[in-house]
């Protein structure tokens, strides 16, 4: 207690010193922050100046001020709105599916009494999260391929379920289901980490009380475990809602020109408009990026606000 008092009184003393002196006293810290400062300025802030290109026609040959032209054409660009809609649909459905799966899996892992089995299972289901999207996509591309070594097609054929190979990744109506399944395979396990942490914090007395009331196993899950998770579920949804527009690599490694209608998301659209076009107009694609940054930033702030309401601290 006395120590704490000393600490605050010395604090007050420091506050009393003039600002210049306090800054001088902390010069070591500013020096240590300098590399971070320079780094962030170059890698994050310098590109922010580049948003001015969205008001220019910027190609290899010319740079010409065009005002709001790009934003006008952006709102008329049908492909852009398809990609915008796809981004929202893909990431929100993916988020709901993986969260639901993670919750169910963690509730039932929590019911396992054998600690060794529990640990082994956790080790296994966390594994795919650490594999890159490229690896995941490569594995599933090979399994789903229409060649003679494609496991899924050949197995279905040998069982007589299908006559002709199905090109899963090139069919407009099959691409999304495959995308969701791959996401479930890769991320469900990792999603359980946060829910299991919450579950380990449940007061065991709640279960004992339920036992005394004669609750069955399923009743205990439904009336004790699931309510305990509700808050965490909301937090997880909020945290992930903030980044719904960021979807890029997971789609990029799995899609192809035949499924653009159902798979093209904003970032992949920006990518192919810039790098797969003969004469790219950096101005236009910067404008798309700016639109995405603004909507995304608003989402982050909104989710930050919601998070403060729900759990008393923001996500920032």
């Amino acid at each position: 207690m006395s120590k704490k008092k000393n600490f605050t009184s010395s604090n007050v003393e420091i506050r009393k010193k003039p600002l210049g002196m306090r800054i001088w006293n902390h010069r070591g810290f500013y020096l240590m922050f300098l590399p971070v400062l320079i780094y962030v300025l170059i890698v994050y802030y310098w590109p922010m100046l580049g948003i001015r290109y969205s008001f220019y026609d910027y190609t290899l040959k010319k740079m010409e001020f065009v005002g709001l032209k790009h934003f006008v054409s952006l709102f008329k660009d049908k492909d852009f709105w398809i990609s915008f809609k796809n981004t929202l649909e893909l990431s929100i459905i993916k988020l709901l599916l993986t969260t639901a799966a993670s919750v169910i899996v963690s509730v039932f892992i929590n019911e396992m009494a054998n600690l060794f089995a529990k640990k082994t299972l956790q080790t296994i289901i966390y594994l795919p999260h650490f594999m890159s999207w490229t690896v995941t996509a490569a594995i599933f591309t090979l399994f789903l391929s229409t060649s003679s070594t494609g496991m899924v097609n050949e197995t279905l054929k040998s069982w007589g379920l299908i006559q002709k190979s199905i090109d899963f990744l090139h069919e407009t109506n099959l691409w999304r289901p495959v995308f969701y399944i791959v996401n479930l395979w890769k991320e469900t396990g990792w999603g359980t980490v946060i829910f299991l942490a919450t579950l380990s914090g449940i007061n065991p007395e709640l279960y004992e009380a339920a036992d005394i009331d004669g609750a069955s196993r399923m009743q205990k899950i439904w009336y004790v475990t699931v309510p305990a998770l509700l808050n965490t579920i909301i937090v997880v949804l909020i945290l992930n809602l903030a980044k719904v527009l960021n979807m890029f690599e997971s789609v990029f490694v799995m899609y192809n020109s035949r499924v653009y209608d159902v798979a093209d998301v904003i970032s992949t659209y920006v990518y192919r408009k810039t790098f797969l076009t003969a004469i790219p107009n950096y101005g236009y694609t910067t404008a798309i990026g700016l639109f995405k940054s603004l909507v995304g930033g608003a989402l982050v702030l909104l989710c930050n606000f919601a998070s403060k309401k729900v759990r008393g601290r923001g996500i920032l």
């Binding site: 120590k3 600490f7 420091i14 306090r22 810290f29 500013y30 240590m32 922050f33 590399p35 971070v36 400062l37 962030v40 170059i42 890698v43 310098w46 590109p47 922010m48 100046l49 580049g50 948003i51 290109y53 899996v105 396992m112 089995a117 299972l121 080790t123 296994i124 289901i125 966390y126 650490f130 594999m131 890159s132 999207w133 490229t134 690896v135 996509a137 490569a138 591309t141 070594t149 494609g150 496991m151 097609n153 050949e154 396990g189 980490v193 004669g214 196993r217 890029f248 990029f252 490694v253 970032s267 990518y271 810039t274 950096y282 694609t285 910067t286 990026g289 940054s293 930033g297 920032l316």
Partner: protein, 288 residues
């Protein structure tokens, strides 16, 4: 009496059935995750491509791996991946520890300003194209060091680091300061030695990010000498663009061997360091 007996017995039999079903379901889940990986591993050692699931390779061979380790177009990207991952992780740790340490100095004038300076980057960004144009100006396109530059700084990890540092008792800092230790001295002699667990966790997060990154390479690099292994894997498997020297081995063997190589470093570390892999998520929660 009779009634109480029935009530007591019933849940017991239910528990039994529940547990059996539960374990069966989880064995299935574990198999759904492991079987694809096992097939990848087995087929990487199998000289012929087969569609069936086999427990062991029918014609064992090491040709897939030999090809990768002897074809310059394949092993160079692997080396690029190793180098960029090592340097990127190191740089990432330096940045996040320095930044995190400074940000937990509560009496630092202008601390709030620095926090907002960093947090703003999480709300707004220039976007893919302006970032590309800046990196092109810095001559970092077509250069594998772009991977290090892109991932050497991560505000989220820096904040995690700060949260961890805040858990170190302030009395330790006070004592060192009284003993005449400089900020740098405190950082090296007290903060870092006490943060080994956080360094391991956050270091692994950086390493996984850099090693697994494919899109940065796709956007910034077209020179095949500078690409990383993820890029080569993608180009081989999805675009069917196999290096010409690799025709002495069956395609599927080579593809599956490449997949194994792309996961190998972390699969070797994972069983031993699982704690640190998972801990990263929870460091943020240490605060409060």
């Amino acid at each position: 009496m009779e009634k109480a007996k029935v009530v007591y017995k019933k849940p017991k039999t239910r528990i039994h059935v529940f547990d059996v079903v539960n374990y069966i379901v989880f064995i299935l889940i574990a198999l759904i995750i492991m079987l694809p990986l096992w097939k990848v591993l087995v087929d990487s050692f199998n000289a012929v491509g087969v569609y069936q699931f086999k427990l062991w390779p029918s014609q064992p061979t090491l040709d897939g791996y030999k090809t990768i380790l002897t074809t310059a177009k394949l092993y160079r990207p692997f080396m690029n991946s190793l180098i960029t991952t090592a340097i990127g992780t190191l740089l990432g740790l330096v940045m996040s520890t320095l930044g995190g340490y400074v940000l937990c100095q509560m009496e630092l004038p202008g601390r709030e300003l620095l926090v907002y300076f960093l947090l703003f980057t999480m709300i707004f960004s220039g976007g893919m194209i302006p970032e590309y144009l800046v990196m092109r100006q810095l001559h970092l396109t077509n250069n594998m060091w772009i991977l290090v530059v892109k991932h050497g700084m991560n505000v989220y990890n820096l904040v995690l680091m700060r949260n961890f540092f805040e858990g170190i008792p302030a009395s330790l800092f006070e004592a060192a300061k009284i003993d005449g230790c400089s900020p740098m001295g405190i950082f090296f002699k007290i903060v870092l030695p006490l943060s080994k667990a956080a360094l391991a966790s956050i270091g692994l997060m950086f390493a996984v990010t850099v090693w697994n990154d494919y899109s940065t390479v796709q956007i910034y690099i077209s020179n095949r000498d500078q690409v990383n292994f993820q890029y080569i894997l993608r180009v081989m498997v999805m675009d069917g663009d196999t290096p010409t020297t690799a025709y002495n081995v069956s395609q599927s063997t080579l593809y599956y061997a490449a997949i194994v190589m792309a996961i190998l470093p972390f699969m070797l570390l994972y069983p031993f360091l699982q704690k640190y892999f998972v801990q990263g998520v929870n460091i943020g929660a240490v605060k409060e």
